[in-house]
């Protein structure tokens, strides 16, 4: 049971860290996609949505090539900071972040699109600069949608498997999350332990989605 607790806390920690890390970028990108037009916007939209439409394992492979020791990003990080990514807990966070990013961006974009531009214009006529208007009007009005999007991303991170297994491997005590643990136990023929992890995983996902649902369904501001 000690191990189950450790895996659960590790999974929650990874999901929390990865979704908090992507939060500012996802919110910023969601806003830019909702409010601005620029050449190449479609390309950015496609790139961001990519992890959602290609097999997670494929995303994992791309990440592995990028942050592996001989990959362009991985080599730089190792030389400059002595940071190892692949097959460490950092790779788990990275995979979760990349896989949940599209969900967050999509939710943020919708949340911002639902804020009437007139509200921002009213703020500007009252003396608020663009950044001020964003903080004092746009963000508060979009907050429910943003939070629901964050919960969705968090739930996605909790269940991440394909990309994680590619870049982080399955190292007990190091990179094993609930999703990886279930697979690992089944492979070892320990179906009982796998079932225990499954129950925890289902409970966490259910809780997160219930929270997200409540927030997005009850959107009256």
């Amino acid at each position: 049971m000690d191990e189950a607790l450790h895996v659960t806390l590790f999974t929650l920690g990874v999901a929390l860290l990865s979704t908090v890390m992507i939060l500012p970028f996802g919110v910023a990108l969601g806003w830019v996609l909702a409010r601005r037009r620029w050449p190449g916007k479609v390309l950015v939209e496609t790139l961001v949505a990519l992890p959602m439409v290609i097999p997670p394992v494929a995303t994992g492979l791309i990440l592995l090539k990028l942050v592996g020791r001989r990959g362009p990003v991985g080599a730089f990080l190792e030389n400059a900071f002595g940071l190892e990514i692949v097959f460490t807990w950092r790779a788990v966070v990275l995979a979760s972040a990349v896989m949940s990013f599209p969900l967050l961006v999509r939710a943020a974009r919708v949340a911002f699109e639902e804020v009437d531009v007139c509200m921002e214009e009213a703020a500007r006529t009252l003396g608020a600069g663009p950044l001020d208007a964003f903080w004092s009007v746009t963000l508060p009005l979009a907050r429910r949608g943003l939070f629901a999007g964050w919960v969705l991303a968090f739930a996605r991170a909790l269940g991440e498997f394909g990309a994680t297994v590619m870049v982080a491997g399955m190292i007990p005590g190091e990179t094993i999350t609930l999703a990886l643990g279930i697979y690992h136990r089944v492979q070892l023929g320990q179906d009982g332990a796998a079932f225990g992890l499954l129950m925890i995983s289902a409970a966490l996902a259910f809780g997160a989605l219930w929270l997200g649902d409540r927030l997005s369904g009850n959107r009256a501001v």
Binding site: D116, C118, E121, R124, T125, L126, G127, V137
Partner: protein, 364 residues
């Protein structure tokens, strides 16, 4: 060339968007209410947004009370949040996540209108009891009053109203108009109003700009503009003229109020008001008829001696009506009579006539 008047609002907006061309030169007085009037799609709101700095139109110039806010020939453009404006949107646009008080303080905190201004605005608009509510719990009229107060508390040097009554029903309009009028008369801040509703304009505006398909077709004081027969038929319907007068005696028995206007007086059915109160009345041109001798034994109480200024026939063929512009010793009047009557009387400019006014509508 007249002397440059530094209190005025001078604007030149030129823009082309697809098939729409805006080509508007404006010169508005620095006090009172100016209405930009025209049909939907004529560019009214575009002009208002450009004045606010919400849209940046190439080749524009804007000077408000001696301060240049925009001069694209020098690349000068003051963004919206640095222009001292108060903008009231069609729907009010109150912030739903803030209370009424939060909405009012939003502009105050950023532009620094003081507590005294707040008290004044709250009294002016009668919203003191609404402070703790959220916009969701306000009626349409209350929302518009709060939006007006919020705009005033942003310490504006110019108030812009974008069809502030369009979203309200007739009863709510009657509720708001007195507040708008006290804002116009007491704040001393010039107001530019955009509207496509004739009744709002004749009641509220002091200065009128007629806009059609992006071009200014006429601009001047309201009374003079309405008495112009040369303007295209944008004002449609029958507006007639708007006359300002001063309240005089009240006839208690007959409930008639005497209104002193240039060139004489009018008797109107209206409750008593304090003597000397300025009032605005509308006289539709179909309610004015003409005769050569002072009529006696008529049921019509309002008779003014006048002089024919000009005549405009509505159609080239003799079948239609004619509009006759009159000068009743300083009060302009327009009479709409049949072409037949016009020809039979042999009306011509400079003739002396009597104008019989069948109905006078009190606007304020």
């Amino acid at each position: 060339m007249k002397e440059p008047d530094t209190s005025r609002i001078v604007a030149r907006f030129h823009a082309a968007r697809g098939a729409f061309r805006l080509d508007a030169d404006l010169d508005l007085p620095g006090k009172g209410a100016s209405a930009i009037f025209g049909p939907s799609g004529c560019g009214k709101t575009t002009i208002l947004r450009a004045i606010a700095g919400l849209d940046r139109l190439a080749g524009s110039f804007l000077e408000v009370a001696g301060e240049v806010w925009q001069d694209e020939s020098r690349g000068l453009f003051l963004p919206a949040h640095r222009r001292a404006i108060g903008y009231v949107f069609q729907e009010g646009n109150l912030f739903p996540h803030l209370t009424v008080q939060g909405n009012l303080e939003y502009g105050m905190r950023r532009r620094g209108a003081g507590a005294e201004a707040r008290e004044h605005a709250m009294r002016l608009l009668g919203i003191g009891h609404l402070l703790g509510r959220t916009p969701r719990h306000l009626s349409g009229g209350e929302r518009q009053r709060v939006a007006l107060a919020r705009a005033l508390l942003a310490a504006p040097r110019l108030v812009l109203l974008d069809e502030p009554l369009a979203s309200l029903d007739a009863a709510r309009k009657r509720e708001i108009l007195p507040y708008l009028e006290s804002l116009r008369d007491e704040s001393g801040i010039p107001i530019v109003l955009v509207s496509h509703a004739v009744d709002e304009v004749v009641r509220f505006a002091d200065h009128l700009v007629l806009l059609d398909r992006g071009s200014v077709v006429g601009s001047g004081p309201l009374g003079a503009m309405l008495a112009r027969l040369d303007l295209p038929d944008i004002l449609s319907n029958d507006i007639g003229v708007v006359v300002e007068g001063v309240a005089g005696d009240f006839d208690d028995a007959y409930r008639l109020l005497r209104l002193e206007v240039p060139g004489g007086s009018l008797r109107v059915t209206h409750p008593a008001v304090p003597r000397g109160r300025r009032m605005r009345v509308q006289i539709q041109s179909r309610d004015v008829s003409l005769c050569f001798e002072q009529p006696t034994g008529t049921s019509i109480v309002n008779l003014l001696p006048a002089r024919v200024v000009s005549i405009k026939h509505e159609a080239d063929a003799p079948g239609g009506h004619s509009l006759v512009l009159l000068d009743a010793a300083g009060t302009p009047l327009v009479a709409r009579i049949t072409r037949f009557s016009c020809d039979r009387l042999g009306l011509a400019p400079d003739m002396a006539v009597w104008a019989q006014i069948k109905a006078v509508a009190v606007l304020t």
